[in-house]
Subunit: 345 residues, 2 copies
């Protein structure tokens, strides 16, 4: 299995993709209602006609088996065979869903990603993970399958709302925290262009994924902030409160920095610096809406756990991260009030 896809930087339209993969292939575009409006016109470029477009409603609620079944049915009815190329034009929701659907359709057709959010550029489209949600739990059903290529065209990011921008910044900051202290500092100081951040984050993530494509070990450091973050995200979905993935990961890193001090040897000064950096950028989440017991139970269902115990990826210093650290689920009950007290002041 190829875990790292080739990345093509620069302007990406349908013609560009077809140039890469050939006139004779059949193409299918997967997008959501947002990217159909804001990105498909740019993607069309000078083409007089586009291949068939499958449009899903936007949002995690639709990253589901039901949407996959609609996409598979659409593809089958349109007569797509194994030789086709599917183009995921969108954020992580579209590439996770479209990638999983492509990985399973007739046991696998080629797909490429054209990420249209900062989060997708730096995170979701790199690394061969695909998946859909089940019972409000994220990416429970999925596969390890890399796209044939990623087309990285930052023009698609220009219309991003601030909230979506921040969602990507959480992963950017995570990359600094787990692997590159100078990058963390540069990002906090807002010294870098979008393209520079995309390149540096991708370099970090690619190196981690290449070393451990199937997440047997060191790749797990990419999960820093995600044990708590995913549980918060699922709990907010159940509560019907809209929050972004990155906002939850930022809150997750905030709380997991406390765990890192307690269980991974992170110094109190660096723990404080992490929390201050995150709080400067991210508004506090309304975690008081959530049931602590529910978040705790969601953490217990995390894919990274083994033998029923909670395992976290935690930095021992800024720029370096440990993994498989056992952490008692009960500790969450201490962190949530600290987060609320500190961030909502």
């Amino acid at each position: 299995m190829q875990a790292i896809a080739p990345i093509f930087y620069g302007a990406c339209t349908f013609e560009r993709v077809r140039e890469q993969f050939g006139e004779e292939r059949r193409y299918l575009i997967v997008c959501d209602s947002n990217t159909r409006n804001f990105c498909l016109p740019l993607f069309r470029g000078g083409a007089t006609e586009l291949p068939p477009v499958f449009e899903t409603e936007a949002g995690e609620d639709f990253k589901s088996l039901a949407t996959c079944e609609k996409l598979w049915t659409f593809a089958l009815q349109q007569g797509f065979d194994r030789d086709s190329v599917w183009i995921n034009l969108g954020g992580g929701m579209v590439s996770d869903l479209g990638g999983f659907a492509a990985a399973c359709y007739k046991r696998g057709v080629a797909f490429v990603n054209v990420p249209t959010t900062l989060l997708a550029c730096v995170d979701a489209t790199v690394g061969a993970k695909t998946g859909v949600n089940l019972l409000s739990e994220k990416n429970m059903i999925g596969s390890f399958r890399a796209p044939e290529a990623i087309f990285m065209d930052t023009r698609y990011l220009e219309s991003l709302p601030r909230e979506e921008w921040l969602s990507g910044m959480a992963e950017v900051l995570k990359h600094g925290l787990i692997a590159d202290a100078a990058y963390w500092e540069d990002c906090l100081a807002a010294k870098l262009s979008t393209l520079e951040m995309v390149r540096r984050s991708i370099d970090i993530k690619s190196a981690v994924v290449a070393a451990d494509p199937l997440e047997n070990g060191p790749r797990k450091i990419l999960n820093f902030g995600h044990t708590v973050g995913h549980a918060l995200e699922a709990a907010f979905v159940r509560a019907g409160t809209h929050v972004t993935h990155g906002a939850c990961v930022a809150a997750g890193m905030w709380m997991e920095s406390l765990a890192a001090e307690a269980f991974a040897g992170l110094s109190a000064a660096e723990g404080e610096a992490i929390r201050a950096g995150l709080s400067a950028l991210f508004p506090a989440l309304p975690v008081e809406q959530l049931s602590v017991a529910e978040v705790r139970s969601l953490m217990a269902g995390d894919k990274k756990n083994r033998g029923g115990e909670i395992r976290m990826s935690l930095p021992d210093r800024i720029g370096h991260c440990l993994f498989d650290i056992a952490v008692p689920a009960g500790a969450l009950e201490e962190w949530l009030p600290i987060y609320t007290d500190t961030c909502q002041k």
Copy 2:
């Protein structure tokens, strides 16, 4: 990706599986209503308790995304993590469905197959293909993923109905026709024990799969009889007529032997010998119930096609097979009446 699983011959009970994979793993048994009744008691052996059992209704109609979703929900609610081992106790329907579900659950958990039909022993469980049906088309959604092990215990075959036995024999005969003329002769002459047939068929299939795990080329010879066979099978499902997979493959090989004479250089004498051998064992299928146009359209949707053209795997002599042979879909309209006239006399 590992395409060939280790095969353990001999008595297989739950204790045997647990001995192989460890006391500390969590196990889930997938079976259908038949294997629950006829095979689970043998599989229990001396164990005082069994792990959680997921039971699906039997039959191709239930080899569906809906059943997968039930299984995934069951596994999630039972708290199965990535370290678990799923045991598919059943025929090809159970191993295809359970294998696909395991391959996608939390992006992949280990699974083993305990085949309980001749067909599953010689075909479905060897070769890393999993999948479920969509819109009456077989295995449209699936993955390439090998079981961790196959436990080959022919005691499970002792209660097989004659019809199910024949269904496996079609694949056994196919192995002879595509790869080993002497084996074809021995099978027709009923010279071999069940265990001998299972071993020889597995050896043939394993060698073919090992040479081309992802079916880019030579593995396609395993599809002899299946272009027509799968289309017949899907059409009979739509018509509500019960027929087995093997009976359809036998009829498929019968008709494709005509294609082999026309497009692959098979001699008329060997074509005749193939059809006579198949007719001696397999009762004629009621193909007059089917619409020729529908069977033709189902053939056109076959996964092996490329660029909209029908491609078949066809023997050029008994014991050797070519693949990717272009065949006009219209030829079906000649073969069906020949089959009906010859076999229903």
